[in-house]
């Protein structure tokens, strides 16, 4: 079966004044339907930029990104992003309006059906009693749940998550990871999840792409069962990942 998402030799650069920074260099990977694909790497590995490229906000200078076989050229509601920032909700709309607006503005759902769909997804993230609240009255975790509900309600081909839980406290973070997995059990949507936390990558992902920093290059790809299991040599997955990310082999090509 052809992959849902194919990233082929993608190099991304962005300019900061006089400097041009290479965010990622010739990164390739594929994501199949219903996969939970995690992009893991330290700061500076270009993982967020890579996600923005898949979303269509950034264009690659080299390589290409294909969604269902056709190239990604601009942002669109078939690739909805959940950001890390709490200000991703429109502050002038209530929780429910944030979702109905997303549905109707993107043309995914008619105005008539948007209301019911919004309610259904608000219920999924257990925020029914806050449906008519404005975002500024919600806690950080609740805001992220609204953002996830909004993204899921749009029923995109692929859900892109850019460190969505990084700004939350540790307890909320763990709970949100569990909730995300439960939501995934229901509908088995495809996720590309960016994080810098090894533990989060193992919990959330079915497959993990490891990127090195400056510029981001693919180090390895590993599978995860959701548990930090030991391999045949008794080494934990997390310590294996840590080694692969940070043990600096002498680069022949450097």
């Amino acid at each position: 079966m052809a992959p849902l998402l194919a990233v082929e030799g993608v190099t991304l650069r962005y300019g900061t004044g006089a400097h041009v920074v290479t965010a990622t260099e010739r990164v390739s990977f594929t994501v199949s339907r219903s996969e939970r694909f995690v992009i893991l790497g330290p700061s500076g590995c270009g993982k967020s930029t890579l996600l923005k490229a898949v979303a269509g906000f950034v264009s690659p200078v080299e390589g290409r990104i294909l969604l269902n076989g056709s190239p990604v050229e601009r942002p669109g509601p078939d690739r909805v992003v959940v950001f890390q920032e709490f200000d991703q909700l429109l502050p002038w709309k209530t929780v429910k309006e944030n979702i109905t607006f997303a549905l109707t503005a993107s043309g995914r759902v008619s105005a008539r059906d948007a209301e019911a769909q919004a309610r259904r997804y608000i219920e999924k993230v257990r925020l029914t009693e806050f449906a008519d609240s404005f975002p500024h009255t919600l806690s950080g975790g609740m805001k992220q749940r609204v953002a996830i509900a909004r993204a899921m309600a749009m029923e995109p081909a692929i859900l892109l998550m850019d460190e969505p839980f990084a700004a939350l406290d540790a307890l909320t973070r763990t709970r949100m990871q569990e909730e995300l997995l439960q939501l995934w059990q229901d509908t088995r949507f495809t996720i590309v999840f960016v994080t810098h936390s090894i533990a989060e990558a193992i919990r959330v992902g079915t497959r993990i792409l490891l990127l090195s920093a400056h510029p981001g290059r693919v180090k390895a790809e590993v599978d995860s069962t959701g548990e930090d299991v030991a391999d045949g040599n008794g080494q934990l997955l997390s310590s294996r990942i840590h080694e692969m990310l940070f043990a600096e082999p002498i680069h022949a090509d450097a």
Partner: protein, 256 residues
């Protein structure tokens, strides 16, 4: 127990009014400083005769025209500034040039260009409104967070949809500030301009009402005119703009 804010201020007003009344009575010179009671009766007489309501109406119509034209031009200028680098430079240059210039200083020039009439007053009003609104709106657009912009673009909105449904509400706190500053400039400018030459074709605004009664030595009426300006200013500030604020930026938690 501490008094509520409103009660404290009301009490202060009553005390000030009492001091006014007592001092004016002891001075006993209605030509220089009329009593509060004389001012109030002049106020009610002017309202009853229809003279003051007519003057208020005249002033408000002028204000409305100037404000509307100023806003329309501000929208154009902001659009130009948001679309191009040169437009943004132009807006910044013009604003920093004209901001230190009190609009009323343009009135003599306006009189030469547009003659003795409403057009001259509208010209200075536009000047009072335009820069404050354009600058604040432009700054507001630029301050809309990159995340919010990406969220808007993620929905695949058209350019018009993106501007009206993401950028304008996102920049609304700044836009509202611009509208308030623009109103404050316009109101002061208008009254000053009316004092300069308030009447055309026999009708005049509140400024003219004050000027005319000063010439007739009806000082209680002058005070009544001043009081009207204060009251109307307070009404716009604390009722109109406050209501808009409560229903929008305060409700949305976007108060800066």
């Amino acid at each position: 127990m501490p008094m509520p804010d409103a009660a404290r201020k009301t009490l202060l007003l009553v005390v000030l009014a009492a001091i006014w009344e007592v001092y004016a009575r002891s001075l006993n010179n209605p030509l220089l400083f009329p009593t509060l009671s004389a001012t109030m009766s002049a106020l009610s007489a002017s309202i009853a005769s229809g003279e003051l309501p007519r003057a208020i109406g005249y002033t408000l119509i002028l204000l409305g025209k100037g404000y509307a034209v100023g806003l329309a031009l501000a929208v154009l200028l902001t659009a130009f500034a948001s679309l191009s680098r040169i437009g943004a430079d132009l807006l910044e240059t013009l604003t920093s040039m004209f901001n230190p210039l009190p609009s009323i200083a343009l009135l003599p020039l306006a009189l030469i260009w547009f003659g003795l009439g409403d057009a001259s007053i509208i010209f200075v009003l536009v000047h009072a409104v335009l820069w404050a609104v354009a600058l604040n709106t432009h700054a507001g657009f630029r301050a809309v967070s990159p995340t919010l912009r990406m969220v808007g673009r993620n929905y695949g909105l058209s350019t018009v949809g993106y501007i009206t449904r993401i950028l304008i509400p996102g920049a609304f706190p700044s836009i509202l500030t611009g509208l308030k500053v623009g109103w404050a400039f316009a109101w002061r400018t208008l009254i000053a301009a009316e004092l300069f030459f308030g009447a055309s074709s026999g009708a005049g605004g509140i400024g003219w009402f004050i000027y005319e009664h000063k010439n007739q030595l009806l000082i209680p009426h002058v005070f009544a005119g001043l009081l009207t300006i204060i009251l109307f200013g307070l009404f716009v500030e604390y009722v109109i703009f406050r209501t808009i604020e409560d229903r929008t930026v305060r409700r949305w938690g976007m108060l800066t």
